[in-house]
Amino acid sequence: MKSESLRGYSLLSPTLLAMVLGLAMPLVVLITLSFWIQDYLDFIRTFSLKNYTDFFQKPIYIKILFKSIRMSGLVTIATVLLAYPMAYFIAFRVKHNKLVWLILITVPFWTSYLLRVFAWKIMLGYNGVINSGLLSLGILSEPLEFLLYNPTSVVITLAHAWAAFAILPIYVSLEKIDRSLLEASRDLGENVFMTFMRVTLPLSLPGVIAASLLVFIPTVGDYVTPALVGGPRGIMIGNIIQSMFGKALNWPLGAAISVMSMITVTLMVCLFIWGTHNFRKRVA
C-alpha cells in the first residue's frame, strides 16, 4: 500500500516539480515583491502595505482595472456569440471532413499574435482597408476616425484573436450531445428553437463556460493589443503593470496591481460559474 502510493508520487514528481517551479514559485515571488517598497534601483525588503494603500487611494488603478474587466467581458460576450454559431455549424451541419473545418479555423493561429493584431491595424486604420474601401465605393467622403485607437478596436481585435479558443470547447460540447435527445425533444412537442433552448443550449453550457473562461482570463491582462490598437483611451490594466515593471520602475507597485487584478479576476470567475450553475438549475 505504502510503496504503491510512493510509486504514485514518484510518477507525479516531474509534473509536481514543474508546477512548483513554473507556477507556485513565481506567484510566491510576486506576492513577496508586492509587500516591498521600491527605493530608486533597489528594494526596501521590509514588510509594508504601502503599495496596496497606493492602489486603493489613487482611483486611476481601480478605474482602469474595472475598465479592463468591462472590455474583457465585452470581448468574451462577442467571442462566444460569434463562436457559438460556427461551432454549431461544424457540429450539426457539416457531415464530412469535420477535421478540415476545425483545422481551417485554427489557420490564423499559425501566424504570430503580433501579426494578427497588426492585420487589424491595417483593416481599421485611417488609410486602412475599410476606410479606403468605403471611400473608393463613394459611400464615404472622408475616412472614419473612430475605427482605430479606442476601446472598440481593442474589443474587435481581441474577439478575433481568441475566436479559436472559444470555438473549439463549444464545438466539443455540442459534438458530445446525443442526437436522439434532440429528436426526443421534437417528439415531445418542442419546435426547433425550443429544442435548442431546452436541450442543446443547457447541454453545451460546459463548453460555453470553458470558452468564456479561456477568453476572459487571458484578455483581462493583455497589453499587446491595447498598446497597438487601443490608443490612449484603450489602455488596459496590463499596460499599467507593464509600465510599472518598465519605464515607471516600480516593481513592487506593479506586483501589487498584478495581485489585485488576479484576485478580482478570480472573484469574477467565481461569480460567473455560480451564475451559470444557477441558470442550469433553473432550466432543469
Binding site: S180, R186, D187, L188, N191
Partner: protein
C-alpha cells in the same frame, strides 16, 4: 376492429441514396393494437417507425395517423410519442423534469401537473424516484422514465424502438409482461420495432415480418408460427426443418406431395392452390418431430436417422439428426420432462423421428 385503423401506410417508400430502406409498405395498424415490426437489422423496420414519428419523410406514399396525412406535419405536432432505443433521457434534468418535459404547453396548473406526474410515476412503479438524476438510474429505470415521459402526453400511438434491447434477460422478461399489462391498462396503440422474434411473439397482437424493405407477412403470433406463408417467415420465426417436395396431385381437398426424405405425404390442402408438379417446401418445427429410440412397429410417417451434435438448454434439448440422402441435419427439440442429469443422447445412436401430417407446413418453392 379491423375497420378502425389508427395508422395507415399507403405505398410508403423511402430510399437512402441507392439503398431502398422501405419499398412500398401498404398496411394498417388497428386502434388499441400491440403491433410489432419484426425483421433482421437493415430490413427497414426502424425507418418505418421513424416515418410515423416524423424523423424521416417518405419519398413516395403517405403515412396516415388517425385518418390524417402526416407528410407536412413536423414531429412536434404529431399525435404520437416515442420511446427511443437508448431511452434518450435528458441528462440535465431529474426524473420529474424528464416526465414533465413534454407538458410545457399542456395548460395544466402547477399542482395539476404535479398530480399527473405523480400518477405517471405510480403507473411505471417509480414512486419516490422523482428527484433522481438521469445518471442515477439503472437501465430498467431509464426505460420506465422514457415510457412515462411519452405516456403522460396520452399519444394516439406509442412508438417503441427496440425497447428491451438494452436490458439483461431476466429484466427483459419482466418488462415484457409489464409492457403488455401497461398497454392494456392505458389502452393506447403500441407500435414497436424489434429484431427479437421471441419478444415479438410474447408481446404482440399482430406482427409484420419485414425483410429488405418489404413487408413479407402480417399475422398474429400463432398464425406466423404455426402457419407461415413463406419460407423466409417460417425460417425467421423460430426454427424450421425444410424438405424439398413436388406436388403430385390435389383431390378431395388433400394435397399429395412427393418429398426427398419424408417419402410421399398427403396433407389437407390449404387456401393456396398448388398446380400439379409445382415445387414446394414441406416444413416442420423441431418440437413437432417426436424422437423414439427403438424401431417403431408402425413405419408410416417415420424417418430413421442417427443422432449428431446436441445442445442441452435446460427445459429442452436440441438434437441434430443425420438422415441418409440428406446433407443438412434435421433439428429436433425435445422437452426434458424427466429430472435427469443424463439427457445428452449418445452420438451415433439410432433414432426414429415420427410426425403427424397435420404438423406439416407446405410452402411455395421457387
Amino acid at each position: 376492429m379491423s375497420q378502425d385503423p389508427i395508422i395507415s401506410f399507403q405505398n410508403v417508400s423511402k430510399s437512402f441514396g441507392e439503398v431502398k430502406a422501405v419499398d412500398g409498405a401498404n398496411f394498417e395498424i388497428n386502434r388499441g393494437e400491440f403491433f410489432a415490426l419484426l425483421g433482421p437489422s437493415g430490413c427497414g423496420k426502424t425507418t418505418l417507425l421513424r416515418m410515423v414519428a416524423g424523423f424521416e419523410t417518405p419519398n413516395s406514399g403517405e403515412v396516415y395517423i388517425d385518418g390524417q396525412p402526416m407528410s407536412a406535419t413536423p414531429p412536434n405536432h404529431r399525435p404520437v410519442n416515442m420511446v427511443f432505443q437508448n431511452y434518450a433521457i435528458f441528462p440535465h434534468m431529474d426524473v420529474r423534469g424528464n416526465i414533465a418535459f413534454g407538458m410545457r404547453k399542456s395548460g395544466l396548473s402547477k399542482s395539476e401537473l404535479d398530480k399527473r406526474i405523480d400518477e405517471t410515476l405510480e403507473l411505471i412503479k417509480l414512486q419516490g424516484y422523482g428527484k433522481r438524476g438521469a445518471d442515477e438510474l439503472s437501465g430498467g429505470q431509464r426505460q420506465r422514465v422514457a415510457l412515462a415521459r411519452a405516456l403522460i402526453k396520452h399519444p394516439k400511438v406509442l412508438l417503441l424502438d427496440e425497447p428491451l434491447g438494452a436490458l439483461d434477460k431476466k429484466l427483459r422478461e419482466q418488462m415484457q409482461i409489464e409492457l403488455r399489462q401497461l398497454q392494456q391498462q392505458v389502452g393506447i396503440t403500441f407500435l414497436f420495432v424489434t429484431h427479437d422474434q421471441e419478444e415479438a411473439l410474447t408481446l404482440s397482437d399482430r406482427i409484420a415480418v419485414m425483410t429488405e424493405g418489404h413487408v413479407k407477412e402480417i399475422a398474429s403470433p400463432a398464425q406466423l408460427y404455426e402457419n407461415p406463408k413463406s419460407r423466409f417467415v417460417a425460417d425467421f420465426i423460430g426454427s424450421m426443418n425444410f424438405f424439398q417436395g413436388e406436388v403430385i396431385d390435389l383431390n378431395n381437398k388433400q394435397l399429395s406431395i412427393s418429398t426427398d426424405v419424408l417419402g410421399e405425404i398427403s396433407v389437407p390442402a390449404s387456401d393456396s392452390d398448388y398446380a400439379s408438379k409445382s415445387p414446394v417446401w414441406v416444413a416442420i418445427r423441431p418440437e413437432k418431430l417426436q424422437p423414439v429410440f427403438s424401431a417403431p412397429d408402425d413405419s408410416s410417417n417415420v424417418i430413421e436417422g442417427e443422432i449428431g451434435p446436441s445442445a442441452y438448454l435446460g427445459d429442452r434439448s436440441h438434437f441434430y439428426v443425420h438422415i441418409e440422402k440428406r446433407e443438412e441435419p434435421v433439428l429436433v427439440a425435445l422437452q426434458n420432462l424427466e429430472r435427469s442429469s443424463d439427457l445428452h443422447r449418445n452420438p451415433f445412436q439410432k433414432v426414429w423421428l415420427k410426425w403427424s401430417n397435420a404438423s406439416l407446413v407446405v410452402l411455395p418453392r421457387n
